[in-house]
Symmetry: none
Subunit: 414 residues, 2 copies
């Protein structure tokens, strides 16, 4: 079965709200094995809505509309879908009574337009909406299906979960289910990752697709098969193949973040870490402490933004600062060694660099960052030149630091 | 002029990511006076992309594509637009040289596919992308315009601001324009803010609409008029009325963040600040140092996650910890006084609390946070009980701390 999602609302076209509902219904459709080749967004204009719906019914079995079911004049979805399917609307007595009671209970005057929400299709039925006054609508006519849902997410999401997903599964017999998994890669750029899995990207079931993120690459493996179990098995086999090629470049799967992976490794290993940050200004500490339970691996950190703080807090020597400058291999090393000693941790991280947009020179340009990792065996420093705005430089620096810790925990240097 | 926005990417159709770019470009289009009647989303499939683009060019003067400009095989936008407009792509020597240098500088091998990013239209030109390797593309052929932009928001947004908006304004001469402004409110909940501006929310030009954010509320004022100047004047008059009602609850406008407002106030006042964070784990320091130039107001901070760190680094007394516990009015006070003394700053902030999801007790539940602000006159503590997940508790705590500093700078306590 094929579906098109049509979002209705001028506020979407004007960019006043972001269409998070469209992403939510897309996941429900793919989980039920319904294919989506296209999504459309139209404003509150009847002619354009009908044109879009008619084209969508021409190409698809199912059209799902989002929004435009309210009581006001610019809520046109109900009438638009009826027109596109050549169906009629009639007033539903139960819903009209419920609406009348709703307004009476609240002491609000009910206007004539509120009763528009009691109109339901002749070839179809209302869909229960426990969180709002507008019911959803199901049209089933001439082999075409329309499902009309209200726009507020607190009404929309429960209706997708409670009605749309079970309904679609009953139609598809849960055949042709889609499953997917994300393999999260760090330490290699998107095009190099692609070279390694290029042949797999040519297959259309399962598919493998790379997505570049800030400081990492996600590989999404997606498979379709008759049952969820079979789709899951296809995904797992292909993921295993990708894992065998990328090895330690893969740090985690699905929603696992890099900081989660690192904190897990630290806790499993009984190791601890402390950090001394200059240009990242607390971002590394914040990422680590975002993970519940990180306190067992992380006693604390220093944000050494000024040179004085580097000397007083982390024990960087004034002579080193004078000779090499704050952004240097030597100062990064002193920060890592100093903070490790101060907190008596297994690892110490030192980060110093130029996040921009100002402060760069020809010799030390914006984006130059030194990241040092100290442990009982000594100190290792990476010099990197990050491209991008201030926030990107800082985020990439934190990614690199976390990955250095991860690799060190995977490959003990003893 | 009429435009259609076409977002390209299977990950959008599958609902794996939310299309925030589409909302961003929609605002730029409406600000330039370009009408958008429709938005489409298609997957990484060449036939469907070309069909969608051809239909879009049939109905519109301008088509803006988002995504699909990367170096990999499933990045099909470049070729799809050229096909739909019957244009050709040629390699641009400057971009090819820049790409080659980019990879050489980083010691990464450049693959053949990376050079696809150097292909530009015969009837058009590349659009500069300072934050990534893929340039955008402008096609101008047979009276139709296509603007192709990359998908990563950190590349996309600056290109909209720096190229697309000025380009569209030059084409439209800026007629029939929408202008809007966001007034950013902190220290009052959405429904209370709404009560204050309720009458203004009934008008349809200008409109006033509230949006709840984590720890703040945004009021969007939008007006439409023949010229940009007239629309701007309508917005400004309405904004002035809102400002007169909300006063100091408004900390900033449009894209100004709370940390920007606070760092500006600190710099204008010649004041400095240092922070000692427990449950926020570096998030406050990270927010402050996100602002370029913050180094003149912020020498550094302490992340005192363990009790030892609170004692050793911030000078919290062991007796206070034993008597009142780490999450207490007294420890917050000691953190603020201690860090202020350590860094010799005008202000010192101390934050201690229970971010969750574990660690709460009946007496000290998850979400209980003490925030202390020390200055030359003493120390003020706010006890708050934040609702929400770990990240929400931490973010709200940082918002409260920044607002305490802001109010203190607006109302000197001398």
């Amino acid at each position: 079965m094929r579906a098109e999602v049509v979002s209705v609302g001028t506020e979407l076209l004007l960019g006043q709200i972001v269409d998070t509902n469209a992403a939510y219904i897309a996941k429900a459709l793919s989980a039920a094995g319904v294919s989506v080749y296209r999504r459309s967004t139209v404003g509150d204009n009847m002619d354009r809505l009908i044109a879009t719906l008619s084209a969508a019914f021409g190409d698809n079995d199912i059209v799902i509309t989002i929004g435009g079911l309210g009581p006001t004049m610019d809520d046109i979805t109900r009438d638009g879908v009826a027109a596109a399917l050549n169906d009629k609307l009639v007033q539903n007595g139960d819903i009209a009574a419920k609406l009348t009671k709703f307004f009476a209970d609240r002491g609000i005057e009910m206007t004539e337009s509120n009763l528009r929400q009691a109109m339901v299709p002749v070839h179809g039925k209302p869909i229960d909406n426990p969180n709002g006054t507008a019911p959803g609508l199901l049209f089933e006519k001439d082999g075409k299906i329309a499902i009309c849902l209200p726009g507020p997410p607190n009404e929309f999401i429960p209706m997708v979960d409670d009605f749309v997903s079970p309904y679609l599964l009953s139609k598809t017999g849960n055949k042709g289910t889609i499953r997917s998994r994300v393999l999260r890669v760090i330490g290699m750029g998107e095009s190099s990752v692609e070279q390694i899995v290029k042949d797999l990207m040519l297959d259309d079931n399962p598919t493998v697709a790379p997505y570049a993120k800030v400081g990492e690459v996600h590989l999404r493996v997606t498979a379709r098969h008759d049952t969820a179990e079979q789709a899951e098995q296809l995904v797992e086999e292909r993921a295993a193949l990708v894992r065998s090629r990328l090895g330690r470049l893969i740090y985690g799967e699905d929603n696992q973040t890099l900081e989660q992976a690192v904190v897990s490794l630290l806790l499993n290993n009984g190791s601890t870490i402390s950090v001394a940050e200059s240009c990242t200004g607390g971002m590394l500490a914040q990422r680590i402490t975002d993970i519940p339970g990180s306190s067992r691996a992380f006693p604390g950190g220093l944000v050494c933004y000024s040179n004085n703080a580097k000397v007083d807090l982390a024990g960087v020597s004034q002579a080193t600062l004078d000779k090499h400058g704050a952004v240097s291999h030597e100062v990064a090393t002193d920060l890592a060694l100093g903070v490790r000693k101060r907190f008596s941790t297994t690892f110490g991280i030192g980060i110093t660099g130029i996040a921009g947009p100002d402060g760069g020179t020809e010799e030390k340009p914006v984006g130059l960052v030194y990241i040092a990792l100290a442990d009982s065996k000594g100190c290792k420093v990476e010099r990197t030149h990050m491209l991008g705005a201030r926030n990107i430089v800082r985020t990439r620096s934190v990614q690199t630091a976390l990955n250095m810790v991860r690799l060190s925990l995977l490959t003990p240097r003893h």
